[in-house]
């Protein structure tokens, strides 16, 4: 399943909604979107991951890059309603507690 990425600007945060499979093929597109959005956002970026059906370590690495960029720019970086597939790989990588994970 191909990935679909939508960006929506709100008053304070930029919402990036990701759907489908995030793997070595699709993660460069997500990386580009995140690294472009972070410095432009007012307060930070919220990545909506409810409909991500699959994520591998390249997707996790992309989220880590987004988080690092947000820290460098003094912005917030949060994951909103991550799917089971996303939580599973974050837990396996011992990175679930590193991110600001929001339930809704």
């Amino acid at each position: 399943m191909a990935v679909k990425i939508d960006t929506m600007l709100t008053e304070d945060e930029t919402l990036i909604t990701v759907e489908g499979d995030v793997d070595l093929y699709s993660s460069p597109e997500l990386r580009k979107t995140l690294l472009r959005a972070v410095p432009k956002s007012k307060d930070g970026v919220v990545v909506v991951l409810a409909n991500v059906s699959y994520m591998d370590s390249s997707g996790v690495a992309t989220l880590v890059e987004g988080l690092r960029s947000a820290k460098e720019h003094g912005k917030r970086f949060a994951l909103l309603t991550p799917s089971v597939a996303v939580m599973k790989v974050l837990e396996l990588a011992r990175l679930d507690s590193v991110f600001d994970v929001r339930s809704d």
């Binding site: 399943m1 499979d21 793997d23 070595l24 093929y25 699959y54 591998d56 370590s57 390249s58 996790v60 690495a61 992309t62 880590v64 890059e65 988080l67 690092r68 820290k71 597939a85 599973k88 790989v89 396996l92 990588a93 011992r94 990175l95 507690s97 590193v98």
Partner: protein, 149 residues
């Protein structure tokens, strides 16, 4: 160990979704719980991604071979390539530890996940070229549906 399936795929990241589908289908025959199935698909995907990204340095016209086998006690998956051998220092067997906020590294997770998921993992980089990773999962009551007792 009897070979169920031998698959030769091109080293193109676009094929990863197909590989995941094949591995998911293969595991239907072995009644693994959903969690374990997801983990195995992830680990095989990571091994193939490593071949594409590191061994072939992103070249999309090379070949990756997968062999899926089973015995009464084990499921075994072998992923091999003919690319640049993985340097020994990259074969990190240390267990995963949670990083701190200041210690976040975006890379190097794939091999660690493979070690985390499978019961036995053997990396065999070739002397001049090629890599072969053999990943084995013990078929026991902990991992298979309906046989907890």
């Amino acid at each position: 160990m009897a070979t169920d399936l031998r698959l030769q795929v091109v080293s193109d990241p676009r094929i990863l979704g197909v590989i995941r589908g094949v591995v998911r289908g293969w595991m239907d025959a072995y009644d693994l719980c959903a969690d374990r199935r997801h983990e195995i698909v992830l680990a095989v995907d990571e091994a193939c991604s490593n071949a594409i990204r590191h061994a072939y340095k992103g070249r999309c016209d090379q070949s990756v071979e997968l062999v899926l086998s089973a015995s009464e006690d084990w499921l075994e998956i072998t992923v091999s390539d003919q690319g640049v051998p993985c340097p020994p220092e990259c074969i990190d067997r240390r267990p995963l530890v949670p990083p701190t906020q200041n210690d976040l590294q975006p890379g190097g997770l794939g091999l660690k996940l493979i070690h985390e998921i499978f019961d036995e993992v053997r990396f065999c980089p070739g002397e001049e070229r090629g890599n072969c990773v053999t990943m084995r999962l013990r078929r026991n009551s902990k991992h298979e549906d309906g046989s907890e007792d």
